[in-house]
């Protein structure tokens, strides 16, 4: 993926986590330039992510501003988005903005999805790097984050949860 239209779409910022772009998040799946216009294919992060409508509008507006028309934004549901698709640059940018990037998404070879009881550990503090952190709330201000707290620097931080 290296076309000019791809570059334009790739640099559109995520409306809820504006420190990362759509390409950083890994939700931009394809940008096809055809004589009849541009077709952008996006995979949603969460089923109910309210940012999807804004993302569609932002991508279309950015491409139109770059001279492309008409612009169609399509949804691709399979395979489902996983935080493993967030690029290295995306992870670095999240950490620089004080959001702990996700670890590896839970993998399952076969059988039922295992139940996870008990506290989660092991998310390093994005501010001071300390490992003594704890989950304060499993859900956060956006669908993709949880709220954590660092026992060393005593600051709260958001963690992009692994899915």
């Amino acid at each position: 993926m290296s076309g000019r239209a791809w570059q334009v779409a790739a640099e559109v910022a995520d409306p809820e986590l504006p420190v990362v772009t759509l390409a950083d998040l890994g939700i931009l799946r394809a940008v096809d330039e055809t004589p009849a216009g541009v077709v952008v294919t996006i995979t949603p992060t969460y089923s109910g992510c309210p940012a999807m409508a804004a993302i569609r509008a932002d991508v279309a507006a950015a491409l139109r501003a770059a001279g492309y028309a008409p612009v169609e934004v399509r949804t691709r549901l399979a395979p489902p988005w996983t935080t493993d698709w967030i690029t290295e640059r995306g992870r670095r940018r999240l950490a620089e903005a004080g959001l702990a990037p996700p670890g590896a998404a839970p993998a399952r070879a076969s059988g039922p999805v295992p139940l996870s009881l008990g506290p989660r550990r092991g998310v390093p503090c994005p501010r001071c790097g300390a490992g003594r952190t704890e989950e304060r709330s499993r859900f956060g201000a956006t669908a993709c984050t949880a709220l954590w707290w660092c026992q060393d620097c005593r600051e709260p931080f958001e963690h992009v949860k692994e899915i």
Binding site: V39, T41, P44, Y46, S47, G48, C49, P50, M52, A53, A54, R56, A57, A61, R64, A65, E72, V73, R74, T75, R76, L77, A78, P79, P80, W81, T82, P106, P112, V113, L115, S116, L117, G118, R136, S137, R138, F139, G140, A141, A143, L147, K161, I163
Partner: protein, 306 residues
């Protein structure tokens, strides 16, 4: 769920005046800045043709069942907004409700596309009477206390996770994709509810009493989750649906694991056959009350766009 863009909305009218704040935010036909606009078809660009050998009416009916489960459960969770015991739990319940609303939008859209009668997610959510809803009765029951909410959420999520996990291999690629996504979300919901059931059950004498009461209130609605409607039976045979009866073992295993950690006993179950009442459109009065609120704006202004 996806109101159309309007021309007479105050924001749109204001945007037409030069030099105002809306104009600075709103480039051209960008639909974001008027409340309620900008929702596109959640299946835009997705191939929604019905797979060969699959009955379209059955597929539409099945997607309604799964979509209605999510929509009605989401509404009961939304009712906790401003009523949760702690801010963190309010955020959690709203997030779970949002995930389920997203699943409902996809599934109702899929139902409408399979039906092929021009009904979109809005028509299906807002313009059906209670008898047209296909959700299990578990999700329509009135809210109780927080212990009840966690008992219902644990039961719902454990059951739905087992269901969606099987549907990820459905012969309908749209249903399979929606399910595969939902597995990740509902697994997180289940862990959240399980954590609270353990914390309250293995907590103080009072929290334990309330948690046990919540479980006892929810449990009579459990057997219906595994009753088989004829649409489910036909589509399971066609490789599209999951047989509800086949989910029970996994459900029991998860519930046993949680209840053991919570030092709670599984409530007794009345023996005997159970009908798939909700799947057949037979509901309790609680659903009519819920829908009266959920549908009130759409019903008061038929065909309105804003």
């Amino acid at each position: 769920m996806s109101p159309e863009r309007a021309t007479e909305h105050p924001a749109a009218a204001a945007a037409a005046e030069p030099g105002n704040a809306y104009e600075a935010l709103n480039e051209g036909d960008d639909p974001r800045w008027a409340y309620g606009t900008g929702f596109a078809d959640p299946l835009a660009g997705v191939d929604t043709r019905v797979p060969s050998g699959v009955d379209a009416a059955d597929l539409a009916g099945y997607c309604l069942m799964l979509g209605d489960d999510a929509l009605v459960m989401s509404h009961r969770l939304q009712e906790w907004c401003t009523r949760a015991p702690e801010l963190e739990e309010e955020v959690a319940l709203a997030n779970i409700a949002l995930d389920l609303l997203g699943q409902a939008r996809l599934l109702l859209s899929r139902a409408g596309a399979a039906e092929g009668a021009g009904r979109d997610e809005d028509a299906l959510a807002y313009l059906r009477d209670p008898g047209g809803f296909r959700n299990v009765r578990l999700v329509e029951a009135e809210n109780g206390d927080f212990g009840h909410a966690m008992a219902r959420l644990l039961v719902f999520a454990a059951w739905r996770l087992a269901l969606l996990d099987r549907l990820a291999g459905s012969r309908d690629p749209v249903l399979a994709a929606v399910a595969a996504k939902g597995v990740k979300e509902v697994a997180y919901h289940r862990d959240y509810a399980a954590g609270w059931v353990v914390r309250l059950g293995d907590g103080t004498a009072y929290s334990r009493e309330r948690m046990a009461a919540g479980l006892a209130a929810v449990w009579p609605l459990v057997p219906e989750l595994f009753a088989r409607h004829e649409v489910e039976a036909r589509l399971a045979a066609a490789g599209v649906a999951a047989d509800p009866a086949g989910l029970r073992a996994e459900f029991d295993q998860v519930l046993d694991q949680v209840l053991t950690a919570a030092t709670l006993a599984r409530p007794p179950e009345r023996p005997g056959p159970v009908r798939a009442a909700g799947r057949a459109g037979e509901h309790t009065p609680a659903l009519a009350t819920l829908l009266a609120e959920l549908q009130s704006v759409a019903r008061a202004h038929p065909g309105a766009a804003w």
